[in-house]
Symmetry: C2
Subunit: 330 residues, 2 copies
């Protein structure tokens, strides 16, 4: 098998995106800016209350895979959809982006996962995710040859929510490390960190994960501190390489004693923050697996994240390889 | 039943929207700017070749109904979806916009209709429509009380493509006129006009249709002339009220000897022309059924059309009542 730059593993989710006012979130008990896990019944209730929407393939790691491919990197994805219309759309979109995707779809119920994303006037997104078919992702979905061929295997912390995906991840880590490859994860969401803090710390400290992505809230949640500098000092000790994003303040990359600060790009209008972290990871990992410096990796991340927040939907409509060329990062 | 401003009848279609280069259209035999009818097999082939896409509820008359409701008008819709995920999305979106929609969904195959819309860098859209469940719309779907309660019943010329929808339309015309209401249609597409020229002319000349919407190409196709002024003179004779749109040149409204010219609104960036004609009709008919002058009707049409072409997707994300207020047209 030819070498793959980045294999991404995550919940395969179709996003259902609508604008709403601030009060809608409070009236419906939705935690702003977070990923709220919901069951089938609440999914139906919220959809009844949701305004007219757009649908787009999403899922954190899926967005990252699409981003890597858009930069021109070789990307693969593991994730579970159902054999239904939304599953067909999901598979089409990720393959049409050039990502290798061959996870067997689930024949029976539950249906393909969907996340109702409410975008408030400030551009912030609040997600309400019904995991559907994602709960069935397990070790049987690990394609060993793909993991062995991937320079980096990247997964989302959200995978600790479905019951068996973590087994698949541990198996991937064994295969990856046996083949001299690296493992990477995103902490996903501060509430997700809160649910699985000890397990995430163990993944890092045991060397199961080499490269960690987090935003400032997630990093602070991981170490239960309000002091970002403290969190940065501790995360630099707990993993080999960490990239911590800070929205419009840019990002900080830490490797041992090395510390690189990267600016965010200037944006014209903040439309929808969905996919910002996912696309930062895409740019960073595309650069990382293609011999770029840490500074360049961070700037590729800033570029992709800055583009995706200026549109509706979690995957940039531009071809990222061309955008990188424009700013001399190709 | 309380009065409805506009009842819209059309093919209930989910749009699948992707960007493409000009060559993609020629390489795949897609007529640019047109609505290309395709069968299930070609739908599959084109989808395989299509890039990553967004999904949005569409359909010409459905877009018009959504627009009328967004302006604050009372709107209803007749159209046939299947009982499947795309059908659920379609029904949700139109109801969430405040449109009354109660057409029974089709239980069996074929599935809900979809149109693959390729948007070229110039913003022009080229549609490839698989009619799916729409072929089953027929007289049994006419809700007599709704027609009787609607000031205007508006339908798309595209309804002449499925086999039995035209019977439903003739039935609606009888009910509407028996109740002192008006019938309106859009000519939909120059190729559609070419397919049904004599029937469309007969609808107008027989008084089955009172108000006609057309763009310049459709009007010229109707009378097989290259001379727009000739087409305008003839359409003014053939129907009681006609509105002919001319993209960035604005529109011309004709009623007997009366002629009103309306400017297009200034736009910042042309993104995607999908829905332009549908939203012009929405603004016009909202104004028409709410006591506005022909000039105001046309300006409401220009406003809605101008907004929808500055975004991806066929239904404006703004609340049109607020936009009308901003420009003193509420």
């Amino acid at each position: 098998m030819t070498t793959i730059d980045v294999l991404c593993i995550g919940n395969a989710i179709v996003d259902i995106i609508a604008r709403c006012e601030e009060e809608f979130l409070t009236d419906n008990g939705i935690i702003k800016g977070a990923m709220n896990l919901i069951d089938a019944e609440r999914a139906e209730l919220l959809y009844d209350r949701m305004g007219p929407a757009l649908e787009a393939s999403g899922g954190s790691a899926g967005n990252t895979a699409a981003g890597v491919a858009s930069f021109g990197g070789a990307a693969a994805f593991f994730g579970k959809v159902a054999k239904d219309q939304l599953g067909d759309i999901y598979a089409h979109d990720i393959r049409a982006q050039g990502v290798r995707f061959a996870t067997a779809p689930l024949a029976g119920p539950p249906p393909t996962a969907r996340s109702m994303i409410f975008v408030t006037p400030d551009g912030e997104r609040s997600m309400n995710t019904y995991l559907g078919a994602c709960v069935e992702l397990g070790p049987e979905d690990v394609e060993e040859a793909v993991v062995a061929a991937s320079k980096v295997t990247y997964f989302e912390g959200y995978l600790w929510d479905p019951p068996r995906a973590k087994e698949a991840i541990r198996q991937c880590a064994s295969i990856a490390h046996a083949n001299g490859r690296e493992m990477s994860m995103t902490l996903s969401d501060p509430f997700c960190v809160d649910r699985y803090r000890e397990e995430f710390l163990d993944l890092m400290r045991s060397g199961t994960v080499d490269i960690v992505f987090a935003n400032a809230s997630e990093a602070k949640s991981l170490y239960q501190t309000d002091d970002l500098e403290e969190a940065l000092a501790r995360i630099a000790k707990d993993c080999r390489l960490a990239a911590v994003t800070r929205s419009e303040l840019g990002s900080i990359v830490l490797r041992g004693d090395e510390r690189v600060e990267i600016d965010a790009i200037e944006i014209r209008e903040l439309v929808d923050t969905t996919g910002a972290g996912d696309l930062y990871a895409a740019g960073f990992l595309y650069g990382y697996t293609n011999g770029k410096t840490l500074d360049e990796c961070g700037r590729l991340g800033s570029l992709a994240a800055g583009l995706v927040i200026q549109q509706v939907g979690p995957r940039p409509m531009q071809q990222l390889s061309k955008e990188a060329e424009k700013v001399g990062l190709a």
